[in-house]
């Protein structure tokens, strides 16, 4: 399996570290919303098909990547920097969620 890193181009999967399901939303660190923490830690969509996931190019530029990969065929339909998603926590704050 090749993952096309936006910096480094197509590289073998052994250069990358899987960091898991990218659909989960991490609650604010101070959040006491147990349901939100439980969902973040334990609950998974686990689709058979396109899966939104986070990889790190740990054996290369070390960038964190948001990858959409088909879990049946391993076809990768998109790779982008994950850093755009760091606004998740900020958005929660703006909406007054915990």
């Amino acid at each position: 399996m090749l993952i096309t890193c936006p910096y480094c181009g197509p590289r073998d999967v052994i250069e990358f570290t899987y960091q898991g399901d990218g659909n989960r939303e991490r609650p604010q660190p101070a959040s006491q919303n147990l349901d939100a923490w439980n969902a973040y830690v334990y609950d998974r969509l686990n689709p058979a098909g396109d899966h939104n996931e986070i990889w790190q190019h740990s054996g290369g530029c070390r960038a964190h990547l948001r990858v959409v990969r088909n879990t049946l065929t391993h076809e990768i339909s998109s790779v982008a920097f994950a850093r755009g998603d760091h606004k998740v926590a900020a958005r929660h704050k703006a909406e007054g969620k915990t």
Partner: protein
């Protein structure tokens, strides 16, 4: 029930083997049953068998999407053991071990259960201490366990590199003598025949496409072979758990599906007569009766339903094998294959009523579903028949994750990569 005996073998041999009956019928689905079990793998079949045998519930259908035993029951590395640390796991897997010890007689079907032992190798003094702790925990609950020295291990497995210059020198190991291997296909066939002869309908090539509901209650399923109703619908679909539960409107589960590969070499003369596990990586090996070395390693590491593995893991597993057995460098690998494992977030299974009324759930088997086959079916059948769990599976609830009652044998925290 005694269909297979020395007498019947002789009689059929003399009459040209024309009179054997198929081990299970190929019935068309009826409109309704008392219980539907979704999934014709080891666990689904053993559930149906024990429903009929232990609880007298014989109006049961087992629905299998493909053909019988085409999933993980025919893809595993056949190891059977009960060498866990935590009491919930130890009690459950030891119950399974006791069922294994009598399974061939119980089924009148030779499952070739061979108690050749399972040896976990330790490579550091700290790891050996940890094994001693686990061994003591096992013995405390009546399970056999013994620590072995490097010299004893060298006598037991002469091909092993036990030298101080090995990549990861061996300092000892934990042995469970009653552990071993079984013939996985025979387990599927034996349970299928036992269930079938008691009246269970095993319906192959019957894919569940949805659930019939009356309000919240599950009252049956829609399938590729029509609607089938039942008072109780049990789900035992391993790696497909997320997909089937989604059909019931449950979108998230504490489970990820991952691929685990297994390998077999060309046949060798007797090489190793125990199940061996490596302590500095993830590698386990035994030798089949045909002579092939059967072995496996770690998950692919990312979510997958592909039922096939990738080359980086092949590379890793082979290097682990050679770290233990340098002499195997020229042995040829015959086949490799992959199975989809339902990896729970604490490494322990789920056998429970619910989560919807009329539904029963059996999943989260991680690497270890095969050895659990008898107890999984036995406990699941109890749970279905009595609408409450047996003491053996009472800890294996679905809501334990959200209630802080995880059964984390490795003490590693939430990750779908355990065991």
């Amino acid at each position: 029930m005694a269909e297979y005996s020395a007498f019947s073998l002789l009689k059929n041999a003399l009459t040209g083997n024309k009179d054997w009956k198929p081990a299970w019928r190929k019935p068309a689905p009826k409109a309704s049953y008392d219980v539907i079990v979704i999934g014709g793998g080891g666990h689904g079949l053993s559930t149906a068998y024990y429903l009929a045998k232990e609880h007298g519930i014989t109006n049961v259908a087992v629905l299998e999407k493909g053909w019988l035993g085409s999933g993980n029951v025919g893809r595993n590395t056949t190891a059977v053991r009960s060498n866990y640390l935590l009491p919930a796991n130890t009690r459950f897997y030891e119950h399974s071990m006791k069922l294994w010890e009598n399974l061939s007689h119980d089924l009148n079907y030779n499952v070739m259960f061979s108690q050749r032992g399972c040896l976990n190798l330790a490579h550091t003094p700290a790891q050996l201490d940890d094994f001693a702790r686990r061994g003591n925990a096992m013995r405390h609950l009546g399970v056999d366990a013994e620590l072995m020295t490097t010299a004893e291990i060298a006598r037991l497995v002469p091909a092993l590199d036990v030298s101080a210059t090995a990549r990861f020198p061996i300092v000892g190991g934990l042995m469970q003598r009653r552990a071993g291997t079984a013939r996985h296909d025979a387990v599927a066939w034996g349970y299928a025949r036992g269930a079938d002869r008691r009246g269970v309908d095993i319906i192959e090539n019957c894919e569940v496409t949805g659930f019939l509901r009356d309000g919240d209650r599950i009252i049956g399923v829609t399938t590729s072979r029509g609607e089938i109703r039942a008072r109780k619908v049990a789900v035992a679909v391993a790696g497909s758990t997320g997909q089937v539960m989604r059909l019931a409107g449950i979108d998230t589960m504490p489970i990820e599906s991952h691929v685990l590969q297994a390998f077999v070499t060309e046949s060798l003369k007797p090489f190793i007569d125990t199940v061996l596990t490596f302590g500095m990586g993830h590698f386990y090996m035994s030798q089949s009766d045909k002579g092939g070395l059967v072995y496996g390693g770690d998950l692919e590491g990312y979510n997958s339903y592909a039922q096939r593995g990738s080359l980086p893991v092949v590379d890793e597993v082979m290097s682990e094998m050679l770290a233990l057995f340098p002499g195997l460098a020229r042995v040829r690998m015959l086949r490799s294959w992959g199975g989809v494992c339902d990896m729970s977030m604490d490494g322990s299974p789920i056998i429970t009523t619910g989560p919807l009324p009329g539904m029963y759930l059996n999943c989260g088997w991680c690497y270890g579903g095969f050895k659990a086959t008898p107890a999984s079916g036995w406990c699941f059948a109890w749970t279905i028949a009595k609408d409450e769990p047996h003491a053996f599976n009472a800890p294996f609830t679905l809501d334990r994750f959200h209630r802080g009652l995880v059964i984390d044998d490795k003490g590693q925290g939430a990750t779908p990569r355990l065991h």
